[in-house]
Structure formats: structure tokens, C-alpha cells
Assembly symmetry: C2
């Protein structure tokens, strides 16, 4: 087995352990590192029986407990030492694993990662990066969930960490960085954002291109956008809600009469193509939590095997790119 291990929270997410185990088996066919499935041993082994896989690449680490989605983050991390999440995070801390992927409780994962794995020296706040759909390439948004009361100086670090990730995992040199704002002019925004603008202008190691209005994110003209986590979460959720609403009313309109039903039948492959290219996440994996002394990736709660496999594959690039050390150098 490879000396490097990626740990996977087999019990985290809406479709665990069925899809998490299946995803790990899928990923093991191409990923060169070993995969540790963390969770209830008997349950995971039952799932593994369904597949043929390279036993040198997948193994199980027992964890009796599970952190549920409804639990309060800090209490859950403190009280459930034998949960798959806490054990997985400790594997990263202790060097037994180089990365941990979980589709479980987001708040608990972010809190646990910060407490257990710890921040890179100099990082003020780790940030969650999410790849957003656009008309061109995917756009990396930070922070999409970690710090809801961000200071301007955090946003500068988000830009620097995001640039390292973009260059080394997504393979584009000197990616452009935009500040999410309510207008393109430099004097726009609230007090924090105005301060962030002037700090970003002077910051090293980033290619800052100014303000980006939220309506222009999906044009895909800027590679990385930075904002506080409250705004980032709102952007993600509006995209999710509006997409679903538009698809539902489209479906309803298309089913309303014979003519449109015929149209829908003919147009169906085109719809599927959009849905796959624009709204599905298998190809991009999970959201990296940047700024920690190891890699922690949040997979979407409703991840299926394909999405879990995508998140695991993304870890390989992160590890090979030596992101943790490069972030430390960039700040």
C-alpha cells in the first residue's frame, strides 16, 4: 500500500454508508493512495462485500459513534471522541492520514478540523472553498461557510489561499481574484468590504481585479471570488433554491399541454446535458477547507458515490501539489 492514506468518513452524509463506501471503491480504481473507511466496522464490511476491489488500497478503521446533522458542532466534537469524524480528523493530526473527506455535519467538521488538525502558522481563519458553476470554467468562492463575522484581513488570506489552490489543484497560473460587492466601483460596499478592497489592492501573491457583482459570478470571467461566509452561504443557497424552483416550474409548464409535452420529449437530452454540466458536482468533488495543517474536504450532504469519488480524487491533486506548504509560503 502507498505510504499516504486518505481517510473517508464512511458514516457522514444523507446516503452513508452505502454511497460513501461505493464512492471509495470507485475512487480506489484510479487514486494511487490508500483509502481508510472510518466508521462502524461491521456495517462498512457488509457494504464492501458488494464490490470487488483491491484490498491493498482500501481498509477499515472502526469508529463506534456517529455525529448527526442536528448536533451542535462544539458539543459534538467534544463529546463524541469515538465518532467517525473525530477519529478521521485525529488520523490527519497524527499523520496517519494526509486528508479527511466527510459529507457529514458541516459545522462539526469545520469546528473539529480547526480544533483537532489546527491552523497553518499565520493563518487567521481557515476558509471553505466551493466551486460554483459558470458559463465558462468553475469559479472558486471562499469563504462559503466557515466565518460569518469575517474581518477584512481574513478576506486577503482567502484570496491568497484560494490562489494557491487554484494554481496547484486546478492548474491555472496567476488566477484572477474578485471581491464580491454590490457594485463594481471601488467606493461601493459596507465598511468591511471597503476595507477589504484597499487591503486586496496592496496584497502580495494574488492577481486582484476589483469588485465583482453577484450577478456576474456565473459569467465565469473571474477565477476566484472572496466574501464573508454569511454572504457566501447566501450565494450558494440562492443558486440552489432558484435552480430547483426554475426546474420545477419548467417541468410544470412543459407538462401543461400536449404540444409542450412533445417539445419536452424532444428537448429532454438537452435538459439532461444542462443538468449534468451545470448542476452536478461529480467532476469537482467537495469543498476544501483551506488553511489547516492537513487537508479536510467537505463533500455535499447529499453526495452520491460519484460525488464522494470526486472528492477523494481531488485530495490526490491537493496532496501532490503540496498545498499546505505552499499556503504557508504565500501568506
Amino acid at each position: 500500500m502507498s505510504d499516504k492514506i486518505i481517510a473517508i468518513d464512511a458514516m457522514g452524509g444523507d446516503n452513508a454508508p452505502i454511497e460513501t463506501v461505493k464512492g471509495a471503491v470507485l475512487a480506489s480504481k484510479t487514486v494511487k493512495y490508500g483509502l481508510a473507511l472510518v466508521g462502524r466496522e461491521n456495517v462498512i464490511n457488509e457494504e464492501l462485500k458488494k464490490y470487488s476491489y483491491d484490498a491493498d488500497k482500501i481498509f477499515v478503521v472502526n469508529a463506534d459513534d456517529v455525529i448527526e446533522n442536528c448536533e451542535m458542532p462544539t458539543e459534538a466534537i467534544k463529546n463524541k471522541k469515538n465518532s467517525s469524524m473525530v477519529i478521521g480528523l485525529n488520523m490527519v493530526k497524527d499523520g496517519q492520514a494526509v486528508a479527511f473527506v466527510s459529507a457529514g455535519n458541516t459545522g462539526a467538521l469545520l469546528t473539529g478540523a480547526t480544533i483537532i488538525v489546527g491552523r497553518i502558522k499565520g493563518v487567521k481563519r481557515p476558509a471553505l472553498g466551493t466551486m460554483l458553476p459558470s458559463e465558462k470554467n468553475r469559479v472558486l468562492m471562499l469563504d462559503s461557510g466557515a466565518n460569518v463575522d469575517a474581518k477584512a484581513e481574513y478576506l486577503v488570506q482567502y484570496a491568497q489561499m484560494g490562489s494557491v489552490y487554484f494554481e496547484n489543484v486546478l492548474g491555472k497560473d496567476n488566477p484572477t481574484v474578485g471581491l464580491i460587492n454590490i457594485g463594481t466601483e471601488r467606493e461601493k460596499g459596507n465598511a468591511m468590504v471597503k476595507e477589504a478592497y484597499s487591503l486586496l489592492e496592496k496584497a502580495n501573491g494574488i492577481n486582484f481585479v476589483g469588485n465583482v457583482e453577484a450577478r456576474d459570478i456565473t459569467l465565469g470571467d473571474v477565477d476566484i471570488v472572496v466574501c464573508d461566509a454569511f454572504v457566501g452561504n447566501v450565494i450558494l443557497k440562492v443558486m440552489e433554491g432558484l435552480s430547483k424552483t426554475v426546474l420545477r416550474i419548467l417541468k410544470k409548464a412543459l407538462m401543461s399541454n400536449l404540444r409542450s409535452k412533445i417539445g419536452a420529449l424532444f428537448a429532454f437530452p438537452a435538459f439532461k446535458k444542462i443538468q449534468r454540466e451545470f448542476f452536478e458536482y461529480d467532476d469537482i468533488g467537495g469543498a476544501p477547507f483551506l488553511g489547516l495543517k492537513g487537508l479536510v474536504v467537505k463533500a455535499h450532504g447529499s453526495s452520491d458515490a460519484g460525488a464522494v469519488a470526486g472528492a477523494i480524487k481531488q485530495c490526490e491533486k491537493f496532496i501532490d501539489g503540496d498545498i499546505v506548504n505552499k499556503i504557508a509560503e504565500r501568506l
Copy 2:
């Protein structure tokens, strides 16, 4: 002529004066109040010649100057005393008009309205209300553009003012109010939002139902949502950008081969129906700026005659509902 006058900024917006004048003529056919078109007299009169209309209901107020979209709000209001916007706002202040509708520079309109028309006694900050599309009825969001550094106590007043508007203009008693947040649990959010939650719970004159995640706004289960203007602007802009992006990629996908082209042809009326019902704004008019001693309505910059007419018709309901006095009583 009616003793009550609605003033219209004939020069404001991307399609002024052609669509603003046409919109006023359209509205004059049903609105019982007089309509004053404010702007360059000769230009407006040229436009008016195109139509037959009741000369008792439409008249022109000359204004030599125009505030452009690129101008800084405070300077523009201070320096362009003879602009259509400043003259229209002064008509409201002086009681010559009961309402002013403009599709011009948003920042200048909000600044000018606050300075010239002035706040209702007790209102801390006037707020811009926008009607968002949803799967059920339209949802009123405040603040969608006025105060980017809002305090928790402002949000309580937004909820109260929005409730008065909803009851009297949209005709629904005891409308529900939600706080836009990053989760539904009461302990979620940034510092300002957490404080707003506890104030909203105790506030009079509103039907507060708790947090609403941004993805659930378009479900339409809550009538009114409140947030600071930075978040409100981001929500509006993400909706605008994503809708356009989805329509563009849908069109591209449908035009990609013969089969999907046939589908598009049959499905076309259904698409048009969605676009009309979900994304067009003629039926809802403009965004009311609530909390002032008179009515000021911001119409979308790209308003056509139908949207201008919608905004004017909405003023009639506002005036008949005696909203200014009812807001003063509610706080």
C-alpha cells in the same frame, strides 16, 4: 383633474423618455390620479404627441437637467437642483405630488428621497422593498438596497414597514415575516443577525416565523423576508445572473442539434409562459422605498412602458391604503 398627483421621472432609466412617457399614458387609462411627467418639456411633449390621452390627467413639469447613472449620489443631488429627480422629489416634499416614480440612478434616488422627502418620525432607516419571484406568491424582501451597514434594530422596522405595505397594498392580513439566515436554527448567523432574531421575536405588529434560508425564499412559504442591504443586493443579483445564465445555456443546448431544435419549437410557448410569470415585472411595479413622509418608488433601470405603468398603478394602492400614516402608527 384629481387633487392627487403622481410625479414620474420622465428622464430616468435606460429607456427614457420613450418608455417612461408611454408608460404614463398607459397608466393614465386606469389610474384615477393625475400624472406629472417631470423632465425636458420639449422632449416629453414630442413623445406625448405619439399618443391620444386624457389631457386632464397628464401634464408636464419642466426640468432642464438629468442625473446620469454614473454620477455619485450625494454630489448629484446637491449639484443638480434642476434635475428631473430633484424636482420630482421636491414636489413630494412640498405636497404638490403624493408619490414619485423613477427608473434612474438608484443611489441618487435613495439619497435624495431621504434628504428631500425625509423620514417618518421614529423611522431609523428607510428601506427598499423588492418583490421576488417564487413558486407561490411574490415575496417582499427588505432591505434590497438602502443600508449596507444595517443594525439589528433596523431589521425590526423593516419587518414592521413591510407588514403594513403587504397588508394594505398586496391585500393579505397578518403576513408572515422571516429573517434571512444561513440556517433555520435560532442560534445561527452572524452577530447582527442573531441580535435581530431576538428583537424580532419580541417586536409588535409583525408575524415573525423565524429564520429563512436563502434557498427557501423562492418556495414562497414566507410573505416577507428581512436582511441588510448588502445581503439583499447579493440575493437580487444572484437571481438575476443565474436566471440569465440558465436561459443562455438552455438556449445553447436546445440549438445544438435537430432533435432538440424541434423540441424547442414545441416547448416555446411554455418557455415564454415561465419567462413572463417568473421573470417579468410588469404586474408588480417598482420597489417602494418605505419609511419616508411620502411615497418614492424605484422602477428597474431597464423598465419598459409596461413596467413603468405597473409602478404607477402600485402608487395608487399605496396612496389609497394611507401607508405613510399606517407605518407611523405601527412602529
